[in-house]
Structure formats: structure tokens, C-alpha cells
């Protein structure tokens, strides 16, 4: 199969930053109240228990304080956010032709349908709070695989959803989990039956279009015993003056011996607060892999978490964060070892440029009884100039002695020698910088599917270009 990557070549900041008209939000209500929540639930024709869950979450949200650590969230005016908006009279469709032209164009420019035709097992696209497209290749449907948008899944498989929904991350977890519980809309539901291997990735793309939007998609993934699969998520939004918020929630249940890989390339615009929560519970001998690229958004607080509950469970976290001008990338990984002989590896790379702040905030917790647990954490930070900032704050709580734990972190800059070597071979300074940065993040990009790896490199290049020469 030949793969053309034209859409990636043509990808530039304008493609991502341009907005469509968004008249449909003119009469959308800003701010949050019980009425808004009841209206969302009614609009979606949800079962009673879900409305109850939303209202309970709202009460928890109101009672919880804002986080008193990490980046400053004082500019995020939660009263001025549109919590729910449908882009006109759109319904989720399984046919690309049915998607309204304007929305279709947006996704086409981002290369969504082309990617699906070429290498995906299924794809979904969400625009504002509404899924506009969702399709799974027939052969996988026949094996019992479910790949639906979350709203549809709630209608079609209410019992399955009820059994797992917000059981991994509860509304009491933190303020934004409660907010999510109250106003969630859209997202992805994946169910892989026992022993089924979905060998091609499933994908969803999330796009915010209007100003002051809030996107709260819920992703629920259940992999039954011995199942295997992978999922890729892409996100972007146009650029505005007013802050918008993304508080998605991802729950992954990996059962005995199952294996799942969750990749995401997050490229929200600079006015977005990305306050996402991702967590997996891994049973006996299961494996979860998190691969993440955090490039966009003005402020990110995202710490994917793996709870290694069963004996022999394994987690792997790979991540890149790129903090450019006015960006705070507060990311990390949390791993909680509960079962015996559980292992985890965390590799995080961060790049700070033009005054950007990147923070690795990690938690490694070994509970009593996690005998023979092994954990390795490695953080590398690259500072491209002398006004940027890099922090590394790993927290290790070890309550078991039969363990092997290692953590290491390094902060540095691009060496003059490497630059000189490349420039003496006729490469300009900017190109040389970009090459070195690409080399720095390679181990993580390599773990992504080809198309995403190329896109990731292109996005990094765009970040490198955006302010002219670096260094």
C-alpha cells in the first residue's frame, strides 16, 4: 500500500487556526447551571440515571475548590464558557457524504478521511459537543468490536455503559472530573471482546470551532480478556482571544492479558486550557501503553495514570511536551503499582522555547504488597534559549522493599558542537536546530503510527518556525 502524506505537507498553522462561521453559538447559553445540565440531558434523550449522575457531579463541582498547585488558572473564567453547542442540526453519521460541507472541509484539510481510507480500522470526528461522523470497518464489527460515539453508545448499550461509566475516574476525583461528569458530551466508546485483536488503529479527531467553547468528550474503552487494540486521538481548535476549556476524560479498562495502546496528539490553540484526565485500570498480565504529544494549548495539565491492579500488569508511558511562547505544559505520568511483579516505564521528553514553561510532574506509588515491582522513570528536557523554563517534579512513594525503582532526569541545551558539525556541512542553523530537536524526540515519535509520526514531526517543525530563528 502506498501512502501519500500530502495533507501533512500542506498542514500549517493557518489550517489549524482558521475557524468556520459559528452562528449556531450565538444563542447558546454561557455559564453553568442546573438548567443547562438538564437541557443537555434532554437534548440527548438520556436515561434517568445519567441525568442524576450529571446533577450529582454538578454538586460536587460546586463544592470543590480549584487546584492550589500547578499552573495559574485565574484567567479561566468558567462563567464565560459555552458548555454545550451543536453545530446546527447535525447528527452523527456513518457516511462521510452526509457530513455538512463546511465541517467536512475542515476535517478534510486536517486529513481525516484520507487517513481512514488508508490505514484505520475505524474513525470518528467530533465538532464542538457533537459527533458528526463515526464508522467502523465491517470486518471488525463482525468480530463483535464496538466503536461508537459515546452518546450513541449510551443509547445502544446502556447497561454496558452504566457498568463502567466514571467508575475508573469518579466525579469525586477532582474539580474538573466533576465538571466533566456534569457536562460531558460526545467522545468515543470502544469495546473489544475477549480474544479479539483489532490490528489496525481506531481514530477520533476532536475539533473546537467557536470561541469560548468547552469540549468535554468522554472516552470509555473496555478491552476484554486477551483482547488487543489501539486508539489514536487528535485535537485542534482555532485561535481566539477568549479562553476555551477542554476537560475530557478517558477511562480504559484493560482486563486479564489484554493489551491496549492509547496515542494522542494534542494541538489545541493557545487560548485553550487543556485540563484532561486519563486513567487506566490494568488487570492481571494486561498492558497499557500511553503515547502522547502535547504541543498546543496555552496551559496543559495532563497526567495519564495507570493503576496496575493485577499481578504482572505492565504500563508504558511515552510523552513529548513542547512549550513555546506563553505556554505552560504541565504534564507527567502517574503509575500506581498494586499487584505483584508489576512493571512500568516512563519516558518523557520536553522542549521549552521562547519563554515557554514545561513541567514534568509525576507520581510513582508502590503500595504494600506489590512485591517484585519494577519502575523506571526517565525525563529529558531541552531548553532552546535562556528565557525558557523546565521543571521536573517526580514524587516517589515506596511502601514495599522487594522493588527496583529508578528515576533520572536531565536538563540541557543543544550543544554548540552538534550545531557546528551540521552547519559545517552546509545546513543552516535553523535547520540544524530542527534536526537535533527531531532526533531528541525520535524515540517517542517512533512509537507512533507512521502518519502520526510524520504529522508530529511537521507540528514540531511548525513550532520551531513560528518565531523565526531559535537559540
Amino acid at each position: 500500500m502506498t501512502v501519500t502524506l500530502d495533507y501533512i505537507k500542506n498542514l500549517n498553522r493557518t489550517t489549524l487556526d482558521d475557524a468556520n462561521s459559528s452562528e449556531y453559538v450565538n444563542h447558546a447559553k454561557k455559564g453553568l447551571s442546573r438548567e443547562v445540565i438538564v437541557a443537555i440531558s434532554k437534548d440527548k434523550n438520556e436515561p434517568e440515571w445519567m441525568l442524576e449522575h450529571r446533577l450529582n457531579s454538578y454538586d460536587v463541582f460546586m463544592s470543590k475548590a480549584m487546584p492550589n498547585w500547578g499552573p495559574d488558572l485565574s484567567l479561566l473564567d468558567l462563567e464565560n464558557i459555552i458548555y454545550y453547542a451543536r453545530p446546527g442540526e447535525v447528527v452523527s453519521s456513518t457516511k462521510w457524504e452526509d457530513v455538512p460541507a463546511e465541517i467536512k472541509n475542515t476535517f478534510e484539510r486536517l486529513g481525516i478521511p484520507e487517513a481512514e481510507r488508508k490505514y484505520l480500522a475505524g474513525a470518528g470526528a467530533q465538532y464542538e459537543s457533537q459527533n458528526v461522523y463515526h464508522r467502523l470497518k465491517e470486518e471488525y464489527g463482525k468480530m463483535g468490536v464496538i466503536f461508537e460515539d459515546m452518546d450513541a453508545a449510551l443509547q445502544k448499550y446502556p447497561d454496558l455503559v452504566k457498568q463502567y461509566f466514571m467508575k475508573c475516574v469518579t466525579m469525586h476525583d477532582h474539580k474538573f472530573a466533576a465538571l466533566h461528569g456534569a457536562v460531558w458530551s460526545g467522545g468515543t466508546f470502544i469495546f473489544i471482546p475477549e480474544g479479539v485483536n483489532v490490528d489496525k488503529p481506531l481514530q477520533a479527531y476532536f475539533r473546537m470551532n467557536a470561541a469560548s467553547m468547552g469540549q468535554f468528550e468522554h472516552t470509555l474503552i473496555i478491552i476484554e480478556k486477551g483482547g488487543q487494540g489501539s486508539y489514536i486521538e487528535g485535537c485542534s481548535a482555532p485561535k481566539y482571544e477568549n479562553p476555551s476549556i477542554h476537560a475530557g476524560l478517558v477511562e480504559v479498562f484493560v482486563k486479564d492479558g489484554a493489551r491496549f495502546r492509547y496515542s494522542s496528539v494534542e494541538n489545541w490553540s493557545r487560548n485553550t486550557y487543556n485540563l484532561n484526565t486519563k486513567r487506566a485500570i490494568v488487570e492481571k498480565d494486561g498492558t497499557i501503553e500511553w503515547i502522547g504529544g502535547n504541543l498546543g494549548s496555552g496551559c496543559t495539565m495532563l497526567y495519564p495514570c495507570s493503576i496496575l491492579k493485577g499481578d504482572g500488569a505492565r504500563a508504558e508511558h511515552l510523552g513529548i511536551a513542547f512549550a513555546n511562547k506563553d505556554q505552560i505544559q504541565d504534564t507527567g505520568a502517574k503509575v500506581i503499582h498494586v499487584g505483584a511483579r508489576t512493571t512500568s516505564t516512563v519516558v518523557m521528553k520536553s522542549i521549552s522555547k521562547a519563554g515557554g514553561v514545561s513541567v514534568y510532574r509525576g507520581l510513582l506509588k508502590i503500595l504494600k504488597g506489590a512485591k517484585g515491582a519494577k519502575a523506571q522513570v526517565k525525563c529529558d528536557a531541552l531548553l532552546l534559549d535562556d528565557i525558557s523554563v523546565s521543571d521536573t517534579i517526580p514524587d516517589m512513594q515506596i511502601a514495599e522493599n522487594d522493588v527496583s525503582i529508578g528515576h533520572e532526569a536531565k536538563v540541557g541545551r543543544i550543544s554548540e558542537e552538534q550545531l557546528f558539525y551540521l552547519m559545517s556541512r552546509g545546513i543552516t542553523e535553523d535547520e540544524a536546530m530542527a534536526m537535533i530537536v527531531n532526533g531528541f524526540i525520535e524515540p517517542i515519535v517512533k512509537a507512533m503510527p507512521l502518519e502520526y509520526a510524520v504529522e508530529m514531526n511537521r507540528l514540531i517543525e511548525m513550532e520551531m518556525e513560528s518565531l523565526g530563528a531559535v537559540g
Partner: protein, 245 residues
């Protein structure tokens, strides 16, 4: 509070033994081109509590050698702050802790490099037995002024029993790109392979453990000004461990 100023171009030593010390807060400034060596030894008896704060400021080209060792007390807290205020200053910081029974050590070590060409080397090693717990927060801040700063932190903990707990938070906060900064941390138990190696040579498990623990810690106190006082206490603690196991 006790303040102390070490004049420029001098060499000085200070030994703080908590059992004989009444002061709990120290502020020390090390003058230009001076060398200062501080040994802090937690040797209270095992039902006492202690909480000490030490702040040391380093002037131009000043050098600090500091050794903090924790063996005694029921519960001990130390807040150590080393500020590299002027260029060319350097510090060599060592922390050693050995907890058994239900001892608790809470160590907060902050090193701020706020001037060009400053160097800090921090190494912490700890052993915890029975239900002893410890927390080691070792952070390095290199500010925007810290051009060509060089800072490294290593911390290693050996857990001898399943009831022991360690909470380690090594942090790096870097706001300058012309720096070399790193930290590493590890938590392990006595390696089975090492025990087997010794066993194969006729050394029983308890003697082998003793040798391994001693070797693990010796690196730290070997060059200490206070070795003759620290060593016997560490060795007697090691003896107690192996006899029990």
C-alpha cells in the same frame, strides 16, 4: 536563631550535634573565597523529637562542604537551604540517613543557584529497616541568573524490611539553558545476586547484608571531618539489623 558570618578568605568548620545543641535555626553566610565545612549529626536518643532549619548563603567563589547524617531521634526534621548567591560559588552536599524501629526522618534540601558559574553536587543515601519511614525532598533551582551552572543530585535508598517506607521527591526547576543539571533516584533492597555471590564464598546472609549496607553508606562518610564519631554509630546500627534478621 543563630547567625554566623564567615569572613572572606578564611577556612572554618562547624559541627552541630543535635543532642548537645539547643539552637534550632541557623543562618550562615560564607564570605568571598572562603571555605566552610559543616557537619550536622542527628544523634538524639530514640524517644526525642527534633526540628532544625539551616540556611547557608554563599558569596563569590565560596565553597561549602556539608554532611548531614541522621541516626538518632524518634522523629527528626531538617530544612536545609543552600543559596549560591554570587558567582563561582560551589557546594558539595552529602546526606546520610539510617532509620530503624519506627524512626521517621523528614529531610528537605533545597539548593538555589542564583549566580553564574555555580556548582552544586548533592548525594543522599539512606537505609531503612523495620517500620522506619523517611521523606527526602531534594530540589535544585537554577534561576535565570544561573548561567553555566552545574548541578547534580543523586539519591539512593535501600529498604531492608517490607515495613519500611520512603517518599522521595527529587525536583529540578531550571530557568536557564546554559546549564548542566540532572538528578537520579533509586529505591532497592539488598540484591539477591549480591547475597548469593557472598554466600557462594562462605559468607552467611546476615554478614553479607552487613557488608553490603556498610559498603553502600561508607562512600558518604568516608571523607567526613567527623568520621570517628559517625562511623561507630552507623556500625552499631548495622550490627543491630543483621542480628535481628
Amino acid at each position: 536563631m543563630k547567625t554566623k558570618l564567615i569572613a572572606a578568605n578564611t577556612e572554618e568548620q562547624l559541627i552541630i550535634r543535635t543532642a548537645e545543641e539547643t539552637e534550632s535555626c541557623f543562618e550562615i553566610t560564607v564570605g568571598e573565597n572562603s571555605q566552610f565545612s559543616l557537619t550536622y549529626f542527628e544523634n538524639r536518643n530514640e524517644n526525642e523529637f527534633s526540628e532544625v532549619t539551616i540556611t547557608i548563603t554563599l558569596k563569590k567563589n565560596a565553597h561549602l562542604d556539608i554532611m548531614t547524617a541522621f541516626a538518632g531521634s524518634r522523629k527528626s526534621k531538617l530544612k536545609l537551604k543552600v543559596i549560591h548567591e554570587e558567582s563561582g560559588s560551589s557546594s558539595d552536599q552529602k546526606t546520610l540517613f539510617f532509620g530503624d524501629k519506627s524512626q521517621n526522618f523528614d529531610i528537605e534540601s533545597t539548593t538555589i543557584l542564583d549566580a553564574p558559574d555555580t556548582t552544586a553536587k548533592i548525594i543522599a543515601k539512606g537505609v531503612l529497616n523495620n517500620t522506619a519511614t523517611a521523606s527526602f525532598d531534594g530540589s535544585i533551582h537554577i534561576t535565570h541568573n544561573g548561567k553555566n551552572a552545574n548541578a547534580h543530585l543523586n539519591e539512593h535508598t535501600l529498604l531492608l524490611s517490607s515495613g519500611a517506607k520512603i517518599n522521595a521527591v527529587p525536583a529540578l526547576k531550571i530557568a536557564n539553558n546554559q546549564v548542566q543539571a540532572s538528578h537520579s533516584a533509586s529505591v532497592t533492597r539488598v540484591d539477591d545476586e549480591h547475597l548469593f555471590y557472598c554466600g557462594a564464598r562462605g559468607i552467611d546472609e546476615s554478614s553479607a547484608t552487613k557488608m553490603i549496607v556498610e559498603g553502600f553508606l561508607r562512600e558518604l562518610y568516608q571523607g567526613s571531618n567527623y568520621i570517628e564519631k559517625i562511623e561507630p554509630i552507623i556500625l552499631s546500627k548495622i550490627d543491630q539489623i543483621t542480628n535481628k534478621n
